[in-house]
């Protein structure tokens, strides 16, 4: 873009103005303007919703997926225009606003206590099956993930980064570091889990005929897709929603305990 080339004083003023507004100028870098991040997040998500509507629900047009891809693409283009790299531009221009929206995941996560409590009858009845299924299910999944990662050719660090992804990001990242993985890759895996479940969840549930057992469907969605999977499960029904909510909590604690032992067993650490 021409605005930053400072060929004329007029253009320089515009460049400084835009840089200040986005928080990308050296002076404004620490302050950062949160409004751009909030606006961009809403814009790309709403474009996603619109595409999803006119695309008649085509799975690649799921708003979260479109929002993510379009958002990264816009930041990439803007970084090019400002003559900096995407990561730096993301940190100075997008992150302040993105963090404000991100913060609301805190109350949104604890809100899942509500669908969980709505089907307290199911929790009381099946608590033993729930805990056992999550422990055994995770252990079996870890073997499959380990050998899949090995087969596809990830190195030791890559494999260790793939193991803790069933937990929420805040638990998965320190565990990845502890077992010799890269916590940034693990965080990426946790995010991709949610995006994949959000885009493919309905289709996967149908294809693998998972919904025959609503308790299992809920636990599976909560484990694979974290809170986003739970939101999908709430749409399937109250039992699924409740089970996915409990899965998010229990699987995180199970990962805390099981994954380091599994990594030792496989000689990763």
């Amino acid at each position: 873009m021409i605005i930053l080339t400072e060929t004329t004083p007029h253009m320089a003023v515009w460049g400084k103005w835009l840089g200040d507004a986005l928080g990308t100028n050296a002076a404004g870098a620490s302050a950062g303007n949160a409004l751009f991040g909030i606006f961009l997040s809403l814009l790309v998500y709403l474009i996603g919703q619109w595409l999803f509507k006119i695309g008649k629900g085509f799975f690649l047009f799921q708003p979260l997926f479109v929002g993510m891809v379009l958002g990264i693409f816009i930041l990439y283009l803007m970084a090019k225009a400002f003559g900096t790299d995407t990561a730096t531009f993301y940190k100075s221009a997008y992150l302040p606003g993105g963090n404000i929206i991100f913060w609301f995941l805190n109350p949104a996560t604890i809100a899942f206590a509500i669908p969980l409590y709505r089907r307290n009858d199911v929790v009381k009845k099946f608590w033993l099956e729930i805990v056992l299924s999550l422990i055994v299910g995770l252990f079996v999944s870890l073997f499959v993930i380990y050998f899949a990662a090995k087969l596809i050719g990830l190195d030791k660090v890559g494999i260790a980064s793939m193991l803790p992804q069933a937990a929420t990001t805040a638990i998965a990242m320190p565990i990845a570091t502890a077992i010799g993985g890269n916590s940034a890759v693990t965080a990426m895996a946790c995010i991709l889990n949610a995006v994949i479940i959000y885009a493919l969840g309905d289709w996967l549930v149908k294809f693998f005929r998972i919904n025959h057992d609503p308790v299992g469907a809920g636990l599976g969605l909560g484990t694979a897709g974290h809170t986003v999977g739970s939101a999908k499960a709430v749409q399937l029904g109250s039992i699924q929603g409740s089970m996915a909510s409990i899965a998010v909590v229990v699987i995180s604690i199970v990962v805390d305990i099981v994954v380091p032992s599994f990594a030792k067993l496989m000689g990763l650490m």
């Binding site: 991040g37 997040s41 979260l64 997926f65 929002g67 993510m68 958002g71 990264i72 930041l75 990439y76 995407t86 990561a87 993301y90 606003g97 993105g98 929206i101 609301f104 109350p107 604890i110 206590a113 509500i114 969980l116 409590y117 307290n120 009858d121 009381k124 099956e129 729930i130 056992l132 299924s133 299910g137 995770l138 079996v140 999944s141 993930i145 899949a148 990830l154 793939m162 992804q165 069933a166 805040a170 565990i175 890269n182 890759v185 965080a187 895996a189 995010i191 991709l192 889990n193 994949i196 996967l204 057992d213 308790v215 299992g216 599976g220 999977g229 899965a247 909590v249 995180s252 805390d256």
Partner: protein
Amino acid sequence: MAANDKVNKAETAKEEPASPILIQMGIFAAILFVSSLISPLFPASFPVPTPVIGLILLYVLLATHIVKLRNVEKFGDFMISLIAFLFVPSGIQLAASLDILKAQGVQIVIVVLIATIVLLVVVAYTTAGFIWIRKNVFHRDVNIDD
């Protein structure tokens, strides 16, 4: 037991008015604040983040009837309906890790895709298996009312 289980339906049936939205937000804020005080007490080798503690706290408060569904339902359901949007910044966060993707990107994405499907399917069928055992080995009740 049955009377206790139906507690939610009884609560809604009474049709007490929902708490004002600011009170609902206040309850959420209080739970988050207390959770943020508890979270650092866990050792670094056994991390339990604030929102996970908050979820457990709110569930305990609901189960012990200290907090009623009508006190938190409206705000909570609204937050849950927003969750996909709230995840957009996490998705865009990948812009900061594009260099990792350049190195082993395709392999990582494939493994994550496999892992997601494996976790979903294995956990779902393991659960179905345990419920089958409950029914056919221990001959215990597996019916759930809708």
